[in-house]
């Protein structure tokens, strides 16, 4: 009783905090664009400006003092050393007198400067936006060129056997960019406005001359406005320059700056409160691991928002990775349904699919035809191998998991030898020097690279929807679902649920297990091809070894057990697992730069969930 009461109180407290934060954030958010926000920015901007120009002014004073000192010393008739001494002394004194740390900013009257700056900011904003638009137009016009060049560079790297990242980095060469007429006109306007700023500055610092103003122009322009500026960026820039002291009400400005994070935090707190409140229900419905991983995924989303990472891009990548992995995860379904538990021998199917893909490239079959050919050949090989594999498994009922793992491992290492000796000829596949096939085979536009990803794909903001990939995924899921509703499928599930009962009702258990295993292996072959087309590479040698584990852990995260699963487990599990991995990497890199913590995360999650499933399935009571 007390425990649940305590939980309720905690949840209410969290909710109150959340509401407070949400109200604070919600009230502060619009202030950014209102007068309050502009005032904050103006104050900060003026202080930054004074700071920056102040240094220039000190130099001017030093120059003047030096000149005077030299003249005085000469007049006194001193030698060279006396002059030098006098100059050094004058410089030191002047610096000490005017150094920016001791400047009393409150004594400076900035009304003139503020007025001048208002005009200049508006002019600069117009100019910078125009330049930005012009540059973007230039990039759009030349993007295809740059993309082709980047692709060629990557293919060259692959051909030389170097490692390449899976994201293609496209940089447009801006050397050909020229200012448009609009830009030049706006620039002239900005220059006019700058004259007033210069005069205002001269009013504050009498020693400021035109030469000093000219040198400071670039700095002032950068302080004033940069392309793509919004409230947060400018605020951070000015605070980085050490101007925070200029504000009278620092905390209010701080709240305005972090208003969005306050709102995110409020949502996070509400989720936390709900989790605490409905803890038991959630755990009962989803199981502890799914709750933990689900919450972890939500946490990562909030951290991505907090660190101002582009959440939409990250989620878009998650969807792509979900699509590319989903078929391999789907391959677990027939295996679990027919009673061979997690098919950790999935590499058998993967290898078959890879052979199909290799043959396509070797024969040079382009585009859709090639992809279809690869799937067909891969599936045929997988069906034959799967049938043999099923014969083995039928003789080993009850011991499938450990046997399948090691059979899968053996096949992968046997194929390592095969990749070295198979008589493929194409130079896309072989090392130009030395024996055997390449480690990673780069697919290009003449093969089936991104053939599903790019089909009917469209963008919503930063979110790219790989329509073809998702449609293919749903199609496969639908087919497996339809199969599981068919007469054979129902019989197969009966075998998986209770083999003895199935036998008693006259179902041929061995035959059903064969069907399930073959289906699982074939889906593995299709899965690796879908994965490769999206990834852009086919990975040979030891790469497929761990993929069975990754697929198995994904479906377990989705809610399957070693003896029961649904299609929804595939979709949820793949999304959560890939989501955690995709979001985990950039967030981890913010926390610990240049680390491999994301890979460590994958190892922990993937193996942890399998261990959990094993503890649930192992015959604990048989002791």
């Amino acid at each position: 009783m007390t425990k649940s009461k305590f939980r309720r109180i905690l949840a209410i407290l969290l909710c109150v905090c959340a509401v407070a934060m949400a109200v604070l954030g919600g009230v502060s958010m619009p202030k950014r664009e209102s007068e309050v926000g502009t005032a904050v920015l103006n104050t900060l901007r003026i202080r930054t400006l004074l700071n920056a120009t102040g240094e220039g002014v000190v130099e001017s004073y030093v120059a003047i003092a030096k000149k005077e000192a030299t003249a005085e010393a000469k007049a006194a008739g001193g030698g060279m050393s006396a002059i030098r001494e006098a100059v050094a002394k004058a410089e030191e004194e002047t610096r000490a007198k005017y150094s920016s740390t001791s400047t009393d900013y409150s004594a400076i009257d900035t009304t003139e400067l503020e007025k001048a700056m208002d005009g200049y900011v508006a002019a600069m904003k117009a100019y910078a936006d125009s330049e930005n638009a012009a540059r973007q137009a230039y990039i759009d016009a030349h993007y295809d060129e740059a993309y082709a060049a980047a692709e060629a560079a990557r293919d060259e790297k692959v051909a030389a056997g170097q490692e390449v990242s899976d994201e293609l980095k496209v940089t447009v060469d801006m050397s050909g960019f020229e200012a448009t007429e609009e830009m030049i006109a706006l620039r002239a306007k900005a220059d006019e406005a700058y004259v007033f700023v210069g005069e205002a500055l001269k009013g504050i610092y009498p020693v400021m001359d035109d030469a000093a103003l000219a040198t400071l122009k670039g700095t002032i322009a950068d302080i004033t406005y940069q392309a793509g500026d919004d409230f947060t960026i400018q605020y951070d820039r000015y605070v980085d320059a050490g101007s925070i002291d200029a504000l009278d009400n620092k905390s209010a400005a701080f709240v305005i700056r972090y208003a969005d994070d306050l709102i995110y935090g409020a949502v996070a707190l509400i989720i936390a409160a709900l989790t605490i409140l409905f803890n038991e229900l959630l755990v009962a419905k989803l199981g502890i691991p799914r709750v933990i991983i689900g919450l972890f995924f939500i946490l990562l989303c909030f951290m991505a928002l907090l660190y101002d990472l582009s959440l939409s891009t990250l989620l878009s990548n998650t969807v792509v990775r979900m699509g590319m992995n989903s078929i391999m995860v789907l391959a677990m379904v027939p295996g679990i349904q027919c009673g061979i538990s997690l098919n950790l021998g999935l590499p058998i199917g993967l290898v078959a699919g890879l052979i199909g893909g290799l043959l396509t490239i070797e024969l040079g079959i382009p585009g859709w035809l090639g992809f279809g050919f690869a799937i067909l050949v891969g599936s045929l090989i997988a069906a034959v191998c799967g049938w043999l594999y099923a014969q083995l498994l039928n003789r080993l009922k009850g011991e499938e998991m450990s046997v399948t793992t090691y059979v899968g491992f053996s096949i992968v290492s046997l194929m390592c030898i095969a990749w070295l000796v198979l008589p493929f000829q194409s130079l896309k596949l072989r090392w130009p020097l030395g024996t055997g096939l390449r480690n990673t085979i780069g697919l290009d536009s003449t093969n089936f690279r991104h053939i599903l990803d790019d089909l009917l794909s469209f963008n919503i903001g930063g979110f790219k929807v790989p329509t073809g990939l998702l449609l293919f995924m749903l199609l496969c899921c639908l087919l497996v679902w339809l199969f599981s509703r068919s007469k054979t499928g129902v019989a197969m599930q009966a075998v998986g649920n209770n083999p003895r009962f199935a036998e008693a009702t006259g179902i041929n258990v061995d035959k059903m297990r064969v069907i399930g295993t073959v289906l699982s292996t074939v889906l593995g072959a299709v899965g690796i091809l879908v994965y490769s087309q999206s990834y852009g590479f086919m990975q040979l040698y030891t790469a497929p070894r761990q993929m069975g584990f990754i697929a198995a852990s994904a479906i377990l995260i989705g809610g399957a057990t070693t003896s029961r699963c649904k299609i929804s487990h595939v979709l949820i599990g793949t999304f959560l697992f890939q989501g955690v991995l995709t979001l985990g990497m950039p967030v981890a890199n913010v926390l610990v730069p240049g680390s491999t913590i994301s890979e460590t995360l994958r190892i922990l999650i993937s193996n942890g969930i399998i261990l959990y499933a094993l503890t649930k399935s192992g015959g604990a009571s048989r002791g």
């Binding site: 080993l396 053996s410 290492s413 460590t600 399935s617 002791g623």
Partner: protein, 421 residues
């Protein structure tokens, strides 16, 4: 009658026989000289046999091959890191590392045992995946805690500009002179001396045992005779020449011998009998009042600690180790080795472990050059031995599962019966 015996022996030891044939073939094609191969073999035996012997107790206790010994190896590597950091070198450093490994590996072993008790019948796959999982934790420890949260002072352990402990840990340097060859270097001698010492010891023990009437005179005489024959054989120059390159680290092999004796001795205690009872049938053992979970826990703890010490012997012989990779294949290679020697996942002896170790590592030595000579590519040999490692384990599991089903366990009887209909 005799013919049938040979056939059944061959069938029971199919893996071992196949390996003998394979090793012989590879030996012929490798073009390596016998003295060199024997020299290499002794080196590999001295550093690998201890950890293989660590697998025996869990097998007897019915838990199959303990692939979680990788976690014992991790415990050893944690100890080595700190011994180097503190600059304790030589034999004291090695003994300190052993002393540190004991509690760390015991705690790890306790946790492993707890977990494996929750997945009875799935221990091997559980141990394998637990090893992978622990590798993730190990990476967290070595990448983000050691060297960052807990600073390391010794140069070479951390590399500036990268996070965590360096990729390779060198055991030769350091303030105390390092622990390389801390055990091997105590007493190294040529093969002849080693043979005489061992044979002398055998003869002495045999004679003393006869005098004390612990063994029958016949058995004692056979032991003395065998020792004498071995010494006599070594007098033939051709035989002696085969071992000319070998330097035997006496203390290391002595420790391995001690472990063999420990394995024999523990089986004669009450605990050893409980291991065997649990291994044969958990239900019966439980009914006869044995605390099955506790016995299995003890078996895993002992195995994990021994594996840790085995890894220490391995790294002191190698002189350096890959921080993030040295432990990964330990379970695979040790498991494959003991199976090659004729052990199954239910039965294993010291002799099988040592024989398996010899055959398995013999293949490791001769396979790459043989593949290079036959196919012109040493990489084929590398992949081949990895394939063999996995293949041997897969084959052993298949055979075991097969024979288990043939025996018609009560839980399978119904299924079998209905399959016939």
């Amino acid at each position: 009658m005799a013919k049938k015996d040979i056939r059944s022996i061959l069938r029971q030891n199919a893996v071992t026989v196949m390996f003998v044939v394979l090793c012989t073939l590879c030996m012929i094609f490798s073009g390596q000289t016998v003295p060199y191969v024997i020299y290499e073999l002794f080196g590999r035996l001295s550093r690998n046999s201890f950890i293989v012997l660590a697998l025996i107790i869990p097998i007897v206790a019915g838990m199959g091959i303990n692939f979680a010994i990788t976690i014992g190896a991790m415990a050893a590597q944690i100890s080595v890191l700190w011994v180097i950091e503190w600059g304790v070198g030589g034999l004291p450093g090695f003994l300190l590392a052993m002393a540190m490994t004991l509690p760390i590996a015991s705690v790890f072993g306790f946790l492993i045992g707890k977990l494996l008790n929750k997945m009875k019948g799935q221990e091997m796959i559980g141990g394998l995946i637990l090893g992978y999982f622990a590798n993730g934790l190990y990476q967290l420890l070595f990448l983000f805690i050691f060297g960052n949260l807990i600073p390391l002072k010794t140069s070479g352990l951390v590399i500036k500009g990268s996070t965590g402990v360096a990729n390779t840990i060198d055991l030769t340097g350091g303030a105390g002179g390092g622990i390389k060859y801390a055990l091997d270097g105590i007493w190294k001698t040529d093969f002849g001396t080693a043979l005489y010492v061992v044979c002398g010891a055998i003869a002495l023990i045999a004679i003393v045992s006869i005098v004390l009437k612990k063994v029958s005179a016949k058995k004692g005489a056979i032991a003395v005779g065998a020792a004498a024959v071995l010494c006599a054989l070594y007098q033939i120059p051709a035989v002696a020449a085969l071992f000319s390159m070998v330097k035997v680290p006496m203390v290391t092999f002595g420790v391995v011998g001690l472990l063999c004796l420990f394995n024999i001795a523990i089986m004669k205690t009450r605990l050893g009998q409980q291991f065997r009872a649990v291994g044969q049938n958990r239900t019966v053992a439980n009914a006869s009042g044995i605390n099955v979970d506790r016995v299995r826990l003890i078996a895993i703890v002992i195995s994990t600690v021994l594996a840790g010490w085995g890894q220490l012997m391995f790294v002191q012989n190698m002189g350096s180790f890959q921080t993030y990779g040295a432990h990964e294949q330990v379970g695979l290679y040790a498991g494959a080795a003991i199976l090659v020697g004729g052990a199954s996942i239910r039965k294993a002896t010291n002799g099988q472990a040592i024989l398996g170790c010899i055959l398995f590592h013999l293949l490791f030595i001769v396979a790459p050059p043989a593949a290079k000579n036959l196919f012109g590519d040493a990489a084929i040999g590398e992949y081949f031995r990895v394939f063999i490692s996995y293949g041997v384990i897969a084959a052993a599991l298949v055979m075991h599962a097969w024979s288990g089903i043939q025996k018609k366990k009560p839980e399978n009887a119904l299924r079998e019966a209905s399959a016939k209909n």
